[in-house]
């Protein structure tokens, strides 16, 4: 175990507390940089989605994890970013310009959503953001002059510095990775500055934040704007990756997936956003595998256990029917959320911290270290 000996205020400010962090994150970055030359094109594609989802996750983490304002409307912000890019592309606007424009526009929309949200808390805020998402979805479907309605829009490949950045090639992956890394660094900078601390203060006690001179309304709007802006940037990449966008891609299900990202990853950390994105993107091929192969496997097992060919066939059909049932994916997501909230409220990152501490303290690790203490002295009346 390493003990940090702090000799300077800089020690509390720097991003990497000690050299070990520099080496491990450097190694991780190196691995990510050579990944396109080692992985299959399918995995590469999944990795690009991990980057995009993680970017959204970081954005949502700022709003929900650090400012404490729940949102089920982030699919709408993603859609606004994506459609802005697709729309501006028609006028031959260069990529850097519409990329920035999409982020800024989404940020402004986020701020506008933030204003009515100021008076809402908890479940009511969730309902308000859901309705915002539905409104945006409806606008995308009806405003045919701009969005081409339900026909959707094609998104052309990126032209950058005179070259074409294909959505399948390594350059596009590097672009997504760069956006993710810059987002994370920017967010970390924010969190070690007055603004980030104000966000956390609002999350934990609005009354105290106000009495310490924090303009709660202003910072909530800022948080909404930053969160939406980041999601807008991710939306541009999302549109390019899919190369075709239509309103039914940005449904409530997508917003819930973003919530899963931060919930499963661990709500109070940026690591959580990335881990959650990996989990969410990688669970999809896993579910597809189960859907395709499970009936056969279970049928085979039943046959070997002596169920008879006919009954094994029935079992196989039953499992197949179950696996292809409508809404099974949603149900599985629901089960995952419930299991995590009950048994691992700190998410995957919390689990990682526990494993790390286990090895650091081996053999002295105590399970109670992470046990949450309940305290009942906080006053609710001044909220």
């Amino acid at each position: 175990m390493r003990f940090l000996f702090k000799t300077d205020y800089e020690d509390d400010i720097r991003l990497f507390p000690h050299s070990g962090y520099v080496y491990s994150y450097g190694l991780l970055l190196a691995v990510l940089l050579i990944a396109p030359y080692a992985l299959s094109s399918y995995l590469m594609s999944q990795l690009v989605f991990v980057c995009i989802y993680a970017t959204v996750g970081v954005g949502l983490m700022i709003l929900t994890g650090f400012t404490g304002q729940a949102s089920l409307g982030h699919a709408a912000f993603l859609a606004i970013g994506a459609y802005t890019a697709a729309y501006l592309q028609q006028f031959n606007v260069p990529f850097p310009v519409y990329f920035l424009a999409a982020g800024l526009l989404t940020g402004v929309v986020g701020a506008l959503v933030g204003f009515p949200a100021l008076r809402l808390q908890g479940i009511y805020l969730v309902i308000a953001t859901i309705s915002f998402a539905f409104i945006v979805e409806e606008i995308l479907a009806r405003w045919e002059g701009v969005t081409h309605g339900n026909e959707g829009m094609r998104v052309k490949t990126i032209q950058l510095l005179g070259t074409t950045v294909s959505r399948d090639g390594p350059p596009f992956y590097y672009l997504c990775l760069a956006v993710l890394v810059l987002t994370i660094v920017g967010t970390l900078n924010l969190l070690r500055s007055p603004t980030g601390r104000a966000f956390v203060a609002i999350r934990d006690s609005e009354t105290a934040a106000r009495s310490m001179g924090i303009n709660v309304a202003l910072y909530k709007v800022k948080s909404f704007a930053i969160s939406a802006g980041i999601t807008g940037f991710a939306g541009v990449l999302f549109a390019h990756k899919l190369s075709f966008i239509s309103p039914e891609m940005f449904t409530l299900q997508l917003s819930i997936e973003f919530i899963i990202v931060i919930l499963i990853g661990g709500t109070f950390s940026l690591h959580g956003a990335v881990l959650g994105a990996i989990f969410l993107v990688m669970i999809d091929p896993f579910l597809t595998y189960l859907k395709d192969d499970m009936p056969g496997v279970i049928g085979g097992v039943a046959a070997t256990l002596g169920a008879g060919t006919e009954r094994a066939g029935h079992i196989q059909d039953a499992v197949a029917a179950f696996a292809s049932a409508n809404g099974l994916k949603g149900a599985i997501y629901g089960v995952i959320i419930v299991v995590f909230v009950l048994f691992e409220p700190l998410g995957l990152y919390g689990r990682w911290l526990k494993i790390k501490l286990f090895f650091q303290l081996f053999p002295l690790y105590k399970r109670a270290t992470f046990k949450r203490q309940k305290i009942y002295v906080k006053s609710e009346r001044n909220r």
Binding site: N189, P194, A198, V200, A201, R203, A208, S211, S379, N382
Partner: protein, 252 residues
Amino acid sequence: MSYFRAENLSLHFGGLKAVDAVSFAVEKGEILSIIGPNGAGKSSIFNLISRIYPPTSGKIFFEDQDITQQPAYDIAKLGIARTFQNIELFENATVLSNLLVGRHRHSTTQLWQELLFLPSVRAGEKAHRRRVEQVIEFLDLEPYRDKLISGLPYGVRKVIELARALCSEPKLILLDEPSSGLNVEETDDMSFWIRDMKSELGITVLMVEHDMTLVNRVSDRVIALNYGRVLAMGSPSEVQHHPDVVAAYLGA
């Protein structure tokens, strides 16, 4: 003109007069305690000053400026900090970041500068950190810097809340029952700190308190309230022996 002044301050909840035409003044550099039985309106006065409730009527002046209509977050910017009766700390943050939030009213950096963490932001952070360290030393909080609030005992939290208020470098500090929930030694420490705040840091203190030992030890003047009205005002012993105050506590 007084340093801080409340004029005919009233707060009514329907028919209930929580605070009823209360007037008092605080002189610069004094320690003024407000005492009174439960429900006398002491904390309500604090909540009126820090603008958590808008007053039904009356005015509040600080440094000859009418602050009755200021938004709540401006009160801290004017130099009035407060603590809460039932500790309001940021539970899931470390002691250091709690104290740094106290520095919020002194931060001057813009959002875009913070996103890039420009040298100006870094310099500002170090300056804040230095001030926070002075408060940590003043209140003996060295062992707790990197601890999460949610794992700390009540007595320590009480001190951290005081520390957070001091980090904002207030001119006037409102202490809502600083000794509630503290044991005898902790209350002793608290009384030393309150006097040091006055003599070393030059902060004016307005305090709500039940513990009469603490009140007698630190207060320059005392106000006794009951049913939202001022019963008596004066030196600690005068107020304690005032017939109306005795009646309010012991029954007529």
